[in-house]
């Protein structure tokens, strides 16, 4: 059991700021992240080859990581939180080459900076190899999947699409089009609102400039991913603007519909929610006095919001007031709200899946089999939708959008863990995993 004053879960922009701020002000800080390295999603490290070439935010990322390093906060990567209790413990699993290391962390104060994940919406053919999330494809590229020379369509909704498309272009992909379901009017209003955030506006303009060869199809959405002659790999997508439908050949499709907050730990702990987001006060404190939350889980509002909120939470743990910073949070929240409006999902997307389109990818439950139930629990019990290892992280937002049901109670384990992990509440232990047949020693 490792004890610390401040435990930060998530080493993305919010977690990095929180940990650095708390550590700089005298707290003993440990940061846990599921990924190998700090950075979260938006600042994900490339683990192979040269780092991605310079782009806006790069300077901030390196300054933030350097600050974290100097602050004295301890960063532990590869730690997946599967259990947490508000009384002050968190359990993690860490996969090593010889097995699974189960660790216990005891905290006085907890900062949840768990970020967000992409929302995927189903369409016929979305399970074909070659179809990825938008951020998903970018993450895989950073993990060593080369896209040079590959023809890519980036589709869905949200500011992430342009960022992903621009990075893929820098990685020598041929980004033939960006397909954005938001209408021209919505996008124009969003762009207008960016006058209050000149840095964001400039970033957007820069991305667009990097994609000068790419068609930007506004008010359009993908209705089908089509396999090539071998039946197994993507060869084209069908796109519509609501009237016409046309086909665009591609090797890869990067498709994501904005973001959903990772609020599972907060829900497990019993934090109060405001809709789908964790409720926090001006100091980023949740309804539980020793638990703070910063960044996307409190509202999808982007990088700057995450950094400021993380800073506030870290300083609050150190007992330092932050009224000046709190003003910036309000401005960033407003940006988040205008994002929500701009990239609201159009109702036509509900008509895209066909009855035989898979909704739950873990259990291959099709759209057609989801009708006639009373709610999420009913559909889960009867169809197994949401019963797979992703525990509803992918299909939950789909069902919510298509059928209007919100996912219900969160239970531990938050991620799959070896059975033996439940036997160690007080110590850390390595559970050896072998592929030998098990023989009890007599």
């Amino acid at each position: 059991m490792t004890t610390t004053e401040v435990l930060v879960i998530g080493a993305g922009p919010a977690g990095i700021a929180a940990a650095a701020a708390a550590a700089e002000n005298g707290c003993a800080v440990i940061v846990l992240d599921d990924n190998v390295a700090a950075g979260g999603q938006i600042w994900r490290e490339a683990t192979v080859g040269e780092a991605a070439s310079a782009h806006r935010g790069h300077g901030r990322k390196w300054r933030a990581l350097e600050r974290l390093r100097r602050s004295g906060a301890q960063v532990l990567g590869g730690r997946c939180v599967f259990s947490a209790e508000a009384s002050g413990t968190v359990q993690t699993s860490h996969e090593t080459s010889s097995g699974t290391l189960v660790e216990q962390f005891h905290f006085e104060q907890l900062i949840l900076a768990t970020g967000a994940r992409e929302r995927f919406l189903p369409f016929p053919g979305w399970t074909l190899p070659g179809v990825f999330g938008a951020g998903g494809l970018q993450a895989l590229v950073k993990g060593g999947f080369p896209v040079g020379g590959k023809r890519v369509v980036v589709a869905g909704t949200g500011p992430l699409l342009l960022a992903v498309a621009a990075h893929l272009a820098q990685d020598s992909a041929v980004v033939s089009s960006v397909v954005e379901q938001a209408s021209l009017g919505q996008l124009a209003r969003f762009a207008a609102s960016l006058w209050e955030h000149p840095a964001k506006l400039a970033q957007g303009v820069l991305y667009r400039a990097m994609l000068w060869k790419t068609s930007y199809r506004i008010g359009c959405w993908v209705v089908e991913a089509i396999a090539g002659s071998n039946g197994h790999n993507l060869s084209a997508v069908r796109v519509t603007d609501g009237t016409r439908v046309w086909t665009e050949p591609c090797d890869l499709l990067a498709s994501g519909y904005h973001l959903v907050p990772n609020t599972e730990i907060a829900a497990l702990l019993g934090c109060k929610f405001r809709g789908t987001f964790v409720q926090v006060d001006k100091a980023q404190r949740t309804s539980l006095p020793n638990v703070f939350c910063a960044g996307e889980p409190t509202g999808i509002a982007g990088l700057e919001a995450a950094m400021v909120q993380g800073e506030i939470a870290g300083l609050a743990c150190a007992g330092i007031s932050t009224t000046l910073l709190q003003k910036r949070v309000a401005a960033e929240r407003a940006f988040g709200e205008s994002m929500e409006k701009a990239f609201a999902l159009r109702k036509e997307l509900r008509s895209v899946p066909r009855p035989d389109t898979i909704v739950c990818r873990c259990e291959d439950v099709t759209f057609g089999s989801l009708h006639g139930y009373t709610g999420w629990t009913d559909v889960k019990l009867q169809t197994r939708c949401g019963m797979g290892p992703c525990q509803g992280r992918i299909c939950g937002p789909v069902v919510e959008f298509l059928l209007g049901w919100s996912p219900v109670s969160i239970r531990q384990p938050l991620f799959p863990v070896p059975l033996q992990a439940f036997c160690f509440q007080d110590e850390s232990v390595e559970i050896a995993t072998t592929n030998e047949p098990i023989e009890e020693k007599a």
Binding site: E118, F120, T127, Q138, G143, G144
Partner: protein, 81 residues
């Protein structure tokens, strides 16, 4: 800085740069990570460890999220069913 490793994917040898995730290696080899419940080939989707589509058998241990694992020399990787 371009050190190459060899790993075995479904029995066939692949050479990848150090730092490549197992999921990326499987994509490079054009092999699915797993076969779904109804027999569809699947590979990584989210790239960040939440979708579980990239699950494969790594060094004999099933249900490993390959987007979170870096390739190591002589690693054996098989698509899971």
């Amino acid at each position: 800085m371009f050190e190459l490793l060899s790993v075995k994917i479904n029995g066939a040898t692949s050479r990848v740069a150090r730092g490549t995730t197992v999921a990326a290696a499987m994509l490079l080899a054009d092999r699915p990570s797993r076969i779904s419940v109804t027999g569809e080939p699947r590979g990584a989707l989210c790239g960040m460890g939440v979708c579980f589509e990239c699950r494969a058998v790594v060094n004999g241990i099933p249900h490993r999220r390959t987007c979170q694992i870096l390739c190591e020399q002589d690693m054996t990787i098989e698509a899971s069913r």
